[in-house]
């Protein structure tokens, strides 16, 4: 959910920076989007296209890095990706926030990002 309002935020930030840099065109925008956010990537792309239509970012390329969920375990020292419970009977894939090694709760260290990493502009 909220792909459109996040895309609005992205476009506003990008155009703001482009203006600051006196750009004539925005060519590319690179984003980090965590797997644990609720953003549908295709919807973000679609919203971005609509929102940049009459701007200098029209037709700019949107490069999206999908960041997998990672966690750290204070009990056993595990530091790695989250595991998933695969409930085959219902084709439901459920992420678990417990340590895959010892079962204790993890501190989530990655996967919740929503960051504009970089923009490429032409002056």
């Amino acid at each position: 959910m909220h792909e459109f309002s996040r895309a609005s935020q992205i476009v506003e930030a990008v155009l703001g920076e482009a203006e600051k840099q006196h750009a004539v065109k925005v060519i590319e925008v690179e984003l980090d989007i965590g797997d644990l956010t609720f953003l549908g990537i295709e919807q973000v792309r679609f919203s971005y296209e609509i929102l940049t239509d009459k701007t200098i970012a029209k037709n700019s390329k949107l490069k999206i890095n999908q960041i997998p969920g990672r966690g750290r375990c204070d009990s056993c020292g595990y530091d790695g990706q989250l595991s998933y419970l695969d409930d085959e009977q219902f084709h439901i894939i459920v992420p678990t926030f417990n340590c895959p090694q010892c079962g204790n709760p993890l501190s989530i260290s990655a996967g919740r990002e929503c960051v504009i990493k970089r923009i490429r502009i032409r002056k």
Binding site: M1, H2, R6, Q9, I10, A13, E17, Q21, V24, K25, I27, L36, T37, F38, L85, D87, F90, I92, V94, P95, T96, F97, N98, G103, N104, P105, I108, R112, E113, C114, V115, I116, K117, R118, I119, R120, I121, R122, K123
Partner: protein
């Protein structure tokens, strides 16, 4: 800024931004947290599905804890004041937050609502979010603890279908347990589903119409209810 050599006219530059889009809400949530801590107020998010029993749970918790604590409640809803009036009639400070069409509360709305309370005369604050198991998870408000309420009348798959909201939940409440048999829902399985997702979450079974289980909810939140 890195300059890139290109053959087309005009100079092309890469600009490293590292702009975190969640930062705005996270900063205000931190502000809210500090404000509440400054006044020694424990704030509890109450999230959950539509009709799960969030307001009923708050009503029961207020009845249980009012003799010992000074309590206030925020009620987040799209447009109506139906639930707000239920809470207000309990005789506590209550603030209605109408989100319009927004499907979740955010830290800014809570910040504005805090201005309407007398923070010097409060021990506990319940923040009831809009009925929604998806969006509130992404918008921290600045509270100490988070409760997620679901009920047996939603069927057996509510937990596995909404794993992310349980990632930050301190307490999961499974309500309407008196209807588990007619619904043919296994509450042990639901509780197990929660624990498989997050071992840190305490699970409490309740009937918020009769008050069954509410003392255990208070205990799970670390609130002493003995009078």
């Amino acid at each position: 800024m890195t300059q890139i050599v290109q053959s087309e006219p005009g100079e092309i530059f890469d600009i490293e931004l590292d702009e975190n889009l969640k930062r705005a809400n996270d900063l205000i949530a931190e502000e809210n947290r500090k404000q509440l801590q400054k006044h020694g107020i424990r704030a509890i998010d109450v999230m959950g599905s539509v009709g799960a029993g969030k307001t009923s749970l708050i009503e029961q918790l207020v009845r249980l804890l009012k003799p010992r604590y000074r309590i206030a409640a925020f009620k987040g809803d799209l447009t109506s004041k139906i639930d707000y009036e239920r809470i207000e009639s309990l005789g506590i400070q209550a603030v209605q937050i109408n989100t319009g069409r927004e499907c979740h509360l955010d830290a800014n709305l809570v910040k504005k609502a805090l201005l309407k309370l007398d923070l010097t005369a409060l021990d506990l604050l319940f923040i009831e979010n809009v009925g929604n198991l998806i969006c509130p998870a992404d918008f921290p408000l600045g509270s100490d603890k988070r409760i997620v309420v679901i009920s047996v009348t939603e069927g057996p798959y509510m937990v596995v279908k909404h794993p992310f909201i349980f990632a930050d939940a301190d307490v999961a409440v499974i309500n309407k347990i008196d209807l588990a048999r007619p619904m043919d829902v296994d509450t042990d399985k639901l509780a197990g589903d929660v624990r498989n997702i997050n071992a840190r979450t305490s699970v409490v079974l309740t009937n918020c119409r009769t008050g069954e289980g509410v003392k255990q909810v208070a205990a799970a939140l670390g609130i002493d209810s003995a009078s």
